[in-house]
């Protein structure tokens, strides 16, 4: 280590490596912490341990093939990632998408959101030391994964969307299973509150730490539950509606506190909203085709296309620059996790190590989403 680094911090401070193998970093995120006793003085994320350069790989792939790469970015909202790319390509080609496809995509996207949030809830509990929540979260998530597996053939990396529609029609059991899940989950979701949300220890640990103001949230590009907990209305489903979101009524959950407990509550309440969206749509899936025929080789017209969608973590942007060939000239994914990570240093400084873990858990980071 060169001397300048050593001289940079005061004598009481020391540096500690959290990660790349650490239980609280949920993957291979490395945080270089500068600590004074237990108090965090500086957090420097070090990324790239799982970088696969998906953007460069996209430049050599056809548009159908790109879709399956996006499964591997934010693997907890893989369907929504697929949808983002497909919407971009469909808008560029000005394809007319059947209503059935839009509704099915929306239902599965909301199921994905619930699956992602239940996993987050389980892991959130584990990060603050309540290990049992993990299993309760996974119990509910498994039911959604079964629905996915029956319809799409895969539990996590589904690749169910293709430009123009869906790869195949929904399974005949899909509607029945989804309704069963809704009934099941409506009895389990209040338990989440009883077990964790109202717990005095949990609330004392979560309230008033990691505060992010609204202005900072916008400036840091925070999106999803992180932004909404700071009172920043950033739901893409409301502001730039896509698929079937314009035909359902749902509330955008907004909190003004901006602390970790607000972020926690936003996600819990969002699960209720997702349930209501699914309930509105599940009985009204229109009959019809499940895809619009496209050419085998898709060539986008020359130009630039941008599409944003709301994943479970926030706003995912897909930016395609096309020169008219069968591959994109430049493909950029604006991932929500990347922006949400960049504000970690801002909100974690001054807290304790335990606060950092709780704060990081409510940012809900998925490392492949950050690294791409």
């Amino acid at each position: 280590m060169d001397t300048t680094v050593i001289n940079n911090f005061k004598s009481e401070e020391y540096q500690i490596n959290m990660g790349p193998q650490h239980p609280a970093t949920h993957g291979v995120l490395r945080l270089l912490l500068t600590i004074d006793g237990e108090i965090i003085k500086r957090v420097e994320p070090d990324l790239g341990y799982i970088h696969r350069s998906i953007e460069k790989m996209c430049e050599r792939d056809s548009y159908q093939q790109i879709v399956h790469l996006t499964d591997r970015m934010d693997y907890l909202s893989s369907h929504i990632n697929n949808e983002a790319v497909c919407l971009t390509v469909e808008n560029a080609l000005q394809l007319e998408i059947p209503e059935r496809v839009k509704v099915i995509r929306t239902i599965i996207a909301e199921l994905t959101r619930i699956a992602s949030h239940t996993l987050w809830w389980g892991v959130m509990g584990m990060d603050v030391g309540a290990l049992t929540t993990y299993f309760y979260g996974f119990r509910d998530r498994e039911l959604i994964n079964d629905i996915f597996e029956e319809t799409c053939g895969a539990r996590l990396t589904m690749n169910y969307n293709i430009p123009g529609g869906l790869m195949f029609d929904i399974h005949p059991n899909f509607v029945k299973r989804t309704k069963e899940f809704i009934d099941h989950f409506k009895t389990k979701l209040p338990e989440y509150d009883l077990l964790l949300s109202n717990n005095i220890i949990f609330r004392k640990r979560m309230e008033g730490i990691g505060i992010l103001s609204k202005d900072d949230a916008i400036s840091f590009g925070a999106s999803g539950p992180v932004g909404r907990a700071s009172g920043y209305s950033c739901d893409v489903r409301k502001h730039h509606s896509y698929s079937a979101y314009d035909r359902v009524t749902f509330n955008e959950i907004l909190k003004t506190e901006g602390d970790t407990y607000a972020r926690y509550q936003v996600r819990i309440l969002e699960m209720w909203e997702s349930l209501s969206i699914i309930e509105q749509l599940i009985d009204n899936i229109p009959e019809g085709e499940f895809f619009t025929k496209t050419n085998t080789v898709i060539k986008l017209p020359e130009g630039e296309y941008y599409q944003k969608v709301e994943t479970a973590r926030g706003e995912l942007g897909v930016y395609i620059v096309s020169t008219g060939t069968k591959n994109p000239y430049r493909m950029k994914f604006r991932s929500p996790g990347f922006s949400n990570l960049s504000l970690l240093n801002h909100i974690a400084v001054g807290g304790k190590i335990g606060d950092l873990v709780a704060t990081m858990a409510t940012l809900d980071l998925v490392i492949p989403d950050i690294d791409r």
């Binding site: 990324l47 790239g48 970088h51 350069s53 953007e55 460069k56 050599r60 792939d61 900072d216 916008i218 400036s219 840091f220 590009g221 920043y232 209305s233 950033c234 502001h239 017209p301 020359e302 130009g303 630039e304 296309y305 941008y306 944003k308 706003e315 942007g317 930016y319 620059v321 430049r330 950029k332 604006r334 990347f338 922006s339 990570l341 960049s342 504000l343 801002h346 690294d371």
Partner: protein, 153 residues
């Protein structure tokens, strides 16, 4: 604010801007590197434009030129705009940083530096983000060659 009004307003601040709406769903502004920072400051601080949300910052390699594309949105007016900046200098491309205007640019600019080798003046912590410090070359440039790791179909 409509695209036309935006065009009229911004061209009154900085005279030599190029505007285009072709082949894109947004109004595209191309700005000279020297005027980038002043234009961005105006776009953010002016109450009529108020672009307070930088939702995407993309490094670009157009073959001859290197550049950065900024996607901006206003959370109050809900209008969007795209600002592009280019340079022909492939050896030492440099722009002014915008991370004192939007905090999120700090990480995004580091990503662009990492993959395109574009430097940003006055950036507080400009170093490699994903790749190791001793990585040779800038992988997302079009002329990057790596015979071992890149599989060309």
């Amino acid at each position: 604010m409509t695209n036309e009004a935006l065009q009229n307003l911004t061209s009154s601040w900085v005279p030599e801007l190029e505007f285009t709406e072709e082949k894109s769903q947004f109004l595209n502004i191309t700005v000279q590197p020297e005027q980038l920072h002043s234009l961005m400051t105006q776009l953010k601080s002016n109450s009529e434009t108020n672009f307070d949300y930088l939702f995407c910052l993309t490094g670009m390699d157009w073959g001859a030129a290197l550049g950065v594309v900024y996607h901006l949105e206003s959370t109050t007016h809900r209008h969007q705009i795209v600002v592009k900046v280019k340079t022909e200098d492939r050896e030492n491309p440099t722009f002014d940083t915008v991370c004192n205007i939007w905090y999120t640019a700090e990480f995004h600019e580091r990503e662009v530096f990492d993959f395109f080798g574009i430097k940003f003046n006055n950036h507080p912590n400009l170093k490699r983000l994903f790749l190791t410090e001793d990585w040779d070359g800038f992988p997302l440039r079009k002329d990057y060659v790596d015979e071992i790791n890149m599989i060309i179909k």
